[in-house]
Symmetry: C2
Subunit: 224 residues, 2 copies
DNA sequence: GATCATCTGATTGTTGACAATAGTAGGTGG
DNA sequence: CCACCTACTATTGTCAACAATCAGATGATC
């Protein structure tokens, strides 16, 4: 008889599970910005008690994804235009740090790791699927940081990816041109392959500045 | 009658208070690396219940200062030599990001903000007080990031400062030469004042590399 | 009619008790 | 004497009940 199936199904702690579920809900838009997280309802939905739920929420508070107001409850952090800029500037700093590490003897490995997301992005672009490109975009950047092997850069990036998706969530992710989006990422991979650190950094910074300007323009609708 | 003194003494939430207390204890060495945090004892000492204490601990788990092992408890994270490198590399990325922001129209303000810590460092160096120099060192770098105004860089830096002190905690902070330490910081401030971003970055990177090599050398005692 | 006080409902904050797990000490058999 | 098994103890994980607080509604007063 298969014993493997009836052992206590808890590999990870309850708090881990709940925190991950909340993170996913925020990222996917199931929890909107500014929305309050009712403890009783959430606990019931996740089939846990309020205790572990509150512990998990504190994890996301520490990450800045949730905000706790005393005697009022916890809310999904609302991102202002200033926050959008801050997110991309921070990502820029983190990802350039990752680039430096990756350039130091991990180039081939990194190019290999980034190729799948590039391929996916190219396919999505050909289909004209903006969400597909967006997904591949995030995978690319998270993978880049993962290749750095830096625990702390990776940890910071995990939160930043969620925040990036929160920015995009409200407005449909419409790139001006899907093809150019693919090209920008390809160029970064090329620079990594060549080992030209400064060029890779320049491309990355330009890429991020583009994104932040696109988002800022969307947020403050052009004077009509 | 002074009503200001009898209002409920809770400005901040209990979790905030406990989390800050734990962070301070870790930074000051009251909680050593690898040490287990007994819930009952700690709760009693902080005069709170286990509930809020556990919530506060989860915040530090999210920051990476504590590690939770299922059914075993939470422990202060142990920093390996690889971690020390990682901490300084991450700080390097974060602080360079801060430098860029600071250089963009906040130079005078930043120089003003950094001057006190430089003065304190100079005084401590004159006294021959290595701990004094170390304190001023941390103040300097945290202040630099604070001047960037970036919420996310500041948040990351707060954790990194604690981790930096954890590295230093075990071995006495002995700089080879206190005066040169002061000089390095002065040069960074000068570069900020002049607005030469690249020079400031170079100085900062060199400063961090020095530190990490000094620590690595101390950790793996020279082959005896 | 507008404003303020009070009341009510619901939600959060905290606590203590209970259940489950892991480490430890003691005992038994080889 | 060592290895293994068993019972115990201490600690963590979870939960439900209680206390405290806030937002909104209701009603009274000017």
């Amino acid at each position: 008889m298969p014993v493997g199936e009836l052992r206590p199904p808890k590999r990870q702690s309850t708090v881990d599970y709940v925190a991950e579920a909340l993170r996913g809900a925020i990222m996917a838009g199931g929890l909107q910005q500014g929305e309050q997280l009712g403890e009783t309802e959430l606990a019931e939905r996740l089939d846990v008690s309020r205790g572990p739920l509150r512990e998990a929420m504190q994890r996301l508070v520490a990450e800045g994804l949730l905000e706790a107001v005393r005697n009022r409850g916890v809310f999904v952090t609302e991102l202002s235009t200033a926050d959008v800029e801050d997110i991309y500037r921070t990502r820029s700093a983190i990802e350039r740090g990752a680039l430096e590490l990756v350039m130091d003897g991990r180039r081939e490995e990194t190019v290999r790791a980034l190729t799948p997301s590039i391929t996916a992005m190219r396919t999505a672009a050909r289909r004209g699927s903006a969400p597909g490109v967006s997904d591949a975009d995030h995978t690319f950047h998270e993978e880049l940081v993962a290749c750095s092997g830096s625990l702390r850069l990776i940890r910071a990036m995990r939160t930043l990816v969620v925040e990036t998706r929160m920015c995009l969530g409200e407005l449909e992710t419409t790139y001006p041109d899907l093809g150019s989006q693919v090209r920008e990422h390809e160029e970064i991979v090329e620079a990594i392959g060549e080992g030209t650190l400064e060029r890779a950094k320049e491309l990355l910074v330009a890429h991020m500045d583009d994104a932040v300007q696109r988002l800022a323009a969307k947020r403050v609708p052009p004077a009509s």
